[in-house]
């Protein structure tokens, strides 16, 4: 089964059994504006929950993308190198940042589900 969870820093993580895909939310890309550069981690890199995992740069600002949970990167989205605008056009699809395996699936429980994230967006936009 798949399950998508969200962080307060506007990353999403889609979990499919032991593997997961990570990206930034539609809200994040709309706040950043036109994205001009993305740096994704290499396969094999160990990342820990809350630590820096990737970098995204827009015409407005450069920001870090944090690891939603701990684990090991299995693949970075190489396609973003030439087409960083994919993150703007399809943030939750082709604009994914990296895939990873999870070292502790229990860490997912601390993240928001869809309805909690929607409520969070309403709160910060108020």
């Amino acid at each position: 089964m798949t399950d998508t969870r969200y962080t307060k820093e506007h990353e999403w993580i889609r979990v499919d059994e032991e593997a997961a895909t990570v990206g930034i939310t539609d809200y994040a890309q709309s706040q950043l504006g036109d994205i001009v550069f993305v740096e994704v981690p290499d396969a094999g890199k160990a990342i820990s929950k809350g630590g820096e995992a990737a970098v995204v740069e827009s015409v407005k600002a450069a920001s870090e993308v944090y690891a939603p949970v701990s684990g090991t990167v299995t693949e970075g989205n190489a396609g973003l190198g030439d087409a960083p605008d994919t993150v703007n056009s399809d943030p939750t699809g082709d604009g994914w940042f990296f895939k990873m395996t999870l070292s502790d699936t229990a860490e997912l429980d601390s993240l928001m589900d869809q309805s909690a994230y929607d409520a969070y967006l309403k709160e910060i936009d108020a």
Binding site: V36, V59, A61, S63
Partner: protein, 509 residues
């Protein structure tokens, strides 16, 4: 107004605003600005190495060259042409006296390799500048050589690293940097091999002191704080922070880019500062904004002074002497050299001319007027804009985009519309800790008349945005400029960084 802005001209020129191509595009190979006799072939000793292809330099007459560069200079916006309210930038007037001093033959026409005995006057000038900087900060040493602000940060963190290494503190691997610090601070720490940890703000635009002190420990090498910070606020707890940092065995780096707000009013040694860079090109009125050169002298505490970089001046029996090598008896612990020659000497001359012509009373008045001007903007603009934090600010006033809520106008649109009104926009979307930031630093340069004209314009634009249905008009600004909105995205994604000639036809043998 809209109709006129839509007129297309045949030439591309608009009024007396010229459409100026690149100088290579003006090339005409039958033009030349010099008249030289053809070289005598008797002198040709190149043998088979004689160039076969054209050199590729553009051919222009002298009036064409003069017009080209004059027109380019007219496209430039500078503090000499108008108010320049960029925040975090300190764009102040550059007195012409500074330029006159820098061009004196004894200062302008010397060479770094001249014998020391012939440049004692230049050394005296550097020594006097160093004395002023030490007096103004209360710190006992200063490294003059850093070339600009971030280089000065690098100097400070390298001195801190050298001090830790000398003491055998190899376990200190972390530098703490609050959210309200300059972006170059974490970059500096990372370049020096430290891992950087961010410290959150406290909701009042300042460092969360509890979060900072909780994080301090035996792995922390230094804390870097920008003060006044990028929200334009004084870090009131700086002394408490410094005490906690020192108790934990770490050093306190203060980013002095915003020194203009506190010159002559705060003694940094009393705040517990171990190292701080001073941007001469911001605070002390040397030209800034044309890409430099800047200068970022870094003052150092007694604990860090022995590690100061080369070169530096010492007094000895023959006058002033430049200590240039790590083997010198006066530099047993220096971390080495970080710049060729002696630093940005021309900037030193200008900065000292500014200091000496203002005097300490004038410097105190300048910092006071800078703060007064920023607060004048903050209070007057609060009528329509939304200031991010309550209370008195320092040298710059910070607003966010709450005043544009539901208008459909973004901070970017608002800033662009200011250009049509003849004002350079303020810094926008920085600092990141507030949403849709507009950061304005008027400096002491501006008169009340200029500030009033600016405020009335900004207030009128804000009222216009709020009147409803204006989103499209704001989004289409600027309308009266030689170019409209530039495609920033394409410029970042697919920049064209150099002009390339048409492919050359093979030159005839």
């Amino acid at each position: 107004m809209t109709e006129y802005s839509n007129i297309e001209t045949t030439s591309g020129n608009r009024g007396l605003s010229f459409e100026e191509p690149l100088i290579f595009e003006l090339d005409s190979q039958d033009s030349s600005a010099v008249d030289l006799d053809p070289p005598s072939h008797d002198m040709d000793r190149l043998g088979g190495l004689r160039r076969r292809l054209p050199v590729g330099l553009p051919g222009l007459s002298e009036p064409e060259v003069v017009r080209h560069y004059t027109r380019l200079s007219q496209k430039n916006y500078s503090i000499d042409s108008g108010f320049y309210p960029l925040g975090s930038c300190t764009m102040k007037h550059n007195p012409r006296l500074n330029e006159k001093m820098a061009r004196l033959p004894g200062l302008g026409d010397i060479h770094p390799f001249q014998p020391e005995s012939t440049v004692q006057g230049a050394y005296k000038l550097m020594d006097t500048l160093a004395t002023w900087l030490k007096e103004l900060t209360g710190l006992p040493a200063v490294a003059l050589s850093p070339a600009a602000g971030a280089h000065g940060e690098l100097c400070g963190i390298m001195a801190i690293r050298a001090a830790h290494q000398a003491a055998g503190n190899d376990d200190r691997k972390v530098v703490l940097v609050p959210e309200s610090a300059h972006g170059t601070n974490p970059a500096t720490a990372a370049i020096c091999g430290y891992s950087v940890e961010s410290i959150p703000g406290n909701g009042n635009g300042r460092v969360d002191v509890d979060a900072l002190t909780t994080r301090l420990g035996p792995d922390v090498a230094a804390v870097m704080i920008t003060n006044p910070n990028t929200c334009g606020l004084f870090e009131n707890e700086a002394k408490a922070i410094a005490d906690a940092v020192h108790a934990a065995g770490a050093y306190f780096y203060m980013d002095g880019a915003n020194f203009n707000a506190i010159v002559g009013r705060v003694t940094l040694s009393e705040l517990g500062v171990d190292a701080m860079h001073i941007n001469l090109h911001k605070t002390f009125s040397t030209p800034h904004g044309g890409g430099g050169p800047g200068a970022g002298p870094t003052v150092l505490s007694e604990a860090l002074a022995p590690f100061a970089p080369l070169p530096f001046l010492v007094h000895d029996a023959n006058g002033l002497r430049m200590v240039e090598h790590s083997g010198d008896k006066d530099a047993p612990q220096s971390f080495g050299r970080m710049k060729g020659y002696h630093g940005q000497f021309g900037v030193f001359v200008r900065a000292l001319a500014y200091m000496m012509s203002l005097g300490i009373d004038g410097l105190r008045q300048a910092s006071g007027d800078a703060v007064l001007n920023a607060n004048y903007l903050r209070v007057r603009l609060s009528e329509e804009l939304t200031p991010s934090y309550d209370g008195i600010c320092m040298h710059e006033a910070l607003f966010d985009d709450r005043f544009l809520k539901d208008t459909g106008v973004s901070t970017l649109d608002f800033a662009k519309s200011m250009i049509d009104e003849g004002f350079h926009p303020p810094t926008m979307y920085f600092p990141l800790v507030v949403h849709g930031a507009l950061l304005m630093e008027p400096t002491e340069t501006e008169s009340k008349a200029t500030l009033d004209q600016y405020c009335e314009t900004v207030l009128a634009l804000a009222r216009k945005a709020k009147s409803g249905g204006m989103a499209e008009e704001f989004a289409s600004s600027p309308q009266l400029t030689p170019r409209r909105r530039l495609d920033e995205t394409q410029a970042a994604r697919k920049p064209i960084l150099r002009w390339k000639p048409e492919p050359l036809k093979h030159a005839a043998e």
